[in-house]
């Protein structure tokens, strides 16, 4: 199973994708993914030669699966259990670094 053609991705493209995906990568990782992404994308390019109907209805759920039901809120009784998994918390809240500083206040 060899890639038919390698898709050469630039280092900048890989950096851009990693940024979009919110992944900090080392320079060694960057080189690794440049190679691996290129190989996989080169392989999957074969799909462009398959004749398809762009207007075809794309359906992946079997027809008898009905997604509709009453839209009802169910309370989750145990917020303590949810908060127990938080890396940082304060009483009944998740803690995160400050998003706003004084200069952004209206």
């Amino acid at each position: 199973m060899c890639p038919m053609s390698e898709e050469r991705l630039s280092k900048e493209t890989v950096e851009h994708i990693a940024r979009l995906a919110r992944l900090e990568l080392s320079s060694a990782e960057l080189a690794l993914y440049q190679d691996r992404l290129g190989r996989v994308l080169g392989y999957v390019k074969e799909l462009s030669s398959v004749k398809t109907d762009p207007k075809a209805v794309v359906q992946h759920v079997p027809r008898d699966v009905v997604a509709l039901r009453e839209d009802r809120v169910l309370d989750f009784a145990n917020t303590r259990k949810l908060l127990a998994n938080a890396p940082e918390k304060s009483e009944d809240s998740f803690l995160l670094p400050a998003v706003l500083d004084g200069s952004n206040e209206n």
Binding site: L20, A21, L25, E29, H60, P62, A98
Partner: protein, 488 residues
């Protein structure tokens, strides 16, 4: 025969006669896990006290519960299912220490049927992999040959069942993650129709493909688990309302006579010669016992690998966006001060290499300017793959195909080349893309004494038919050998 070789019905029968108790069996499993499970690395968590407490509770409630179909049956759960009070790491560092606040519907239903949850099993990180080498907690070893992989991603579940450390196990199958390890470990594994078993409480990988299913040592054991857990769940929007049959009733009297099997030549290319031999022998056995075999054509299945590796990573990149270091899981110590740094560093340090690769693949395929050419196109090809099966099922009731192109391979053999590894799932991927049910059954051993499997694929929601035919084959095949070390 030692108790660990009994099937589920014999075990529950012995409980009902009071010749055996759930606590005795729980202790047996815990000691076997301690002796053998540690070496195989198939469990990520075993809570001895909780298991014994549950077994004692089952004993106390004998009068109410002994009639339940899975009363006291030890079942292992893949570590990407939530079970209240147990960890759920998905074999990722990013979820190390995560304790489930509630229980997945499938597990809840097994417990309601009397099952005893015995432990959480190892897997490829976030169920992404075909060898279990992608676990952040070390790979699982194949009980048939510990220098070889058990398959993946549900390698821990398959190995635990093959090594008789439990009577059954749950796995998830997105591209072959139940069937391929079942095949490599010599056990039965069922991937039900998409929508047949609730996905509620299962850590999402690719939501249009993920499906929950059972592992067992026989088709009947798998059918027992299925009838307990399948069916509508209001908490899963893709869960089907169609009626769940009592699978075991029909399985018991199954026969191959007059069955119409389809065989697709396209899917028999590139197989190990011994896998091909075993497949051909199975087909001959079925024909000799009254089944008919017709040629079917699945021409678009050759694009399944490319289609899958665009759709699954795309969905994964979206599903895994939730691991942000805020609500749960790993938060990088080096990210104090700025929110975006929390995301970048926590995710960069918390995810393993294959997961990062797939997140980036998906991000690329979904990004502006590429969406139509990659994700959009893949979905159109997916339709063609599905339509091929619809046409095939006009000529037959069940498609037969090998489960894996090879037997269990050595550690490291495919780890460096993603495409080589992805090709391990070439026989199973088309079935996920089409949303069909498929059960893998052991069909023989190679000259190296490694298991080979064949899958029986059915129409949507025809689990009954494929289980019946698989059971009919199982009877003709006779008892399958037990993995080395189990009887020692």
């Amino acid at each position: 025969m030692k108790i660990n070789e009994w099937n589920i019905d014999s075990l529950t029968g012995a409980y009902r006669k009071r010749s055996l108790s759930p606590v005795e069996v729980a202790k047996y499993c815990l000691s076997a896990i301690e002796k053998r499970g540690k070496d195989l690395n198939c469990f990520l968590q075993v809570r001895e006290d909780a298991v014994l407490a549950s077994a004692e509770d089952l004993e106390k409630k004998f009068n109410d519960k002994a009639k339940l179909p899975l009363y006291g049956v030890p079942i292992a759960i893949k570590d990407n299912f939530l079970v209240d009070g147990w960890q759920a790491t998905a074999a990722s560092k990013i979820l190390q220490g995560y304790v489930s606040p509630y229980t997945a519907t499938s597990v809840e239903r097994l417990e309601a049927a009397g099952a005893l949850i015995i432990g959480k099993t190892n897997l490829d990180e976030f169920a992404m992999g075909s060898s279990n080498e992608n676990s952040a907690y070390g790979p699982v070893k194949n009980p048939w040959d510990t220098s070889r992989v058990p398959g993946g991603s549900s390698g821990g579940s398959a190995a635990a069942v093959a090594a008789h450390l439990c009577w059954g196990a749950l796995g998830t199958d997105t591209g072959g993650s139940i069937r391929q390890p079942a095949s490599l470990c010599g056990v039965v594994g069922l991937k039900p129709t998409y929508g047949r078993v609730s996905r509620y409480g299962v850590i999402a990988f690719a939501s249009s493909l993920d499906q929950v299913g059972p592992f067992g040592r026989s088709v009947n054991d798998v059918a027992r688990m299925m009838e307990a857990m399948a069916g509508y769940d209001r908490k899963d929007a893709t869960s089907s309302r169609s009626v769940v049959p009592v699978y075991t009733e029909s399985v018991a009297r199954a026969s191959a006579k007059n069955a119409r099997f389809g065989v697709a030549k396209e899917l028999l290319e590139g197989l190990d010669p011994e896998v091909r031999q075993s497949f051909d022998l199975l087909v001959q056995t079925m024909v000799a016992n009254g089944a008919k075999v017709v040629d079917v054509s699945l021409p678009h299945s050759r694009y399944a690998l490319s289609t899958y590796y665009l759709i699954a990573p795309s969905e994964a990149s979206s599903n895994l966006a939730r691991y942000d270091g805020i609500h749960y899981g790993y938060r990088s110590k080096g990210s104090r001060g700025e929110l975006e740094q929390v995301y970048l560093k926590s995710r960069g340090e918390g995810f393993g290499p294959e997961v990062k690769l797939r997140i980036m693949l998906g991000t690329y395929a979904l990004s502006a300017g590429y969406y139509d050419a990659y994700y959009g196109k893949a979905n159109q090809v997916r339709q063609l793959i599905s339509q091929d099966f619809v046409q095939a099922f006009e000529k037959c009731d069940c498609v037969l195909m090998p489960t894996s192109p090879s037997v269990a391979f050595k550690f490291g053999e495919k780890a460096a080349d993603p495409l080589k590894m992805y090709a391990s799932d070439v026989c199973t991927l088309p079935i996920n893309l089409a949303g069909l049910p498929s059960v893998s059954v052991p069909s023989g051993l190679s000259s190296d004494k490694l298991p080979i499997g064949v899958q029986f694929v059915g129409r949507h929601f025809e689990e009954q038919r494929i289980l019946d035919l698989a059971a009919a084959y199982e009877k003709l095949r006779g008892p399958f050998p037990i993995a080395p070390g189990v009887r020692e």
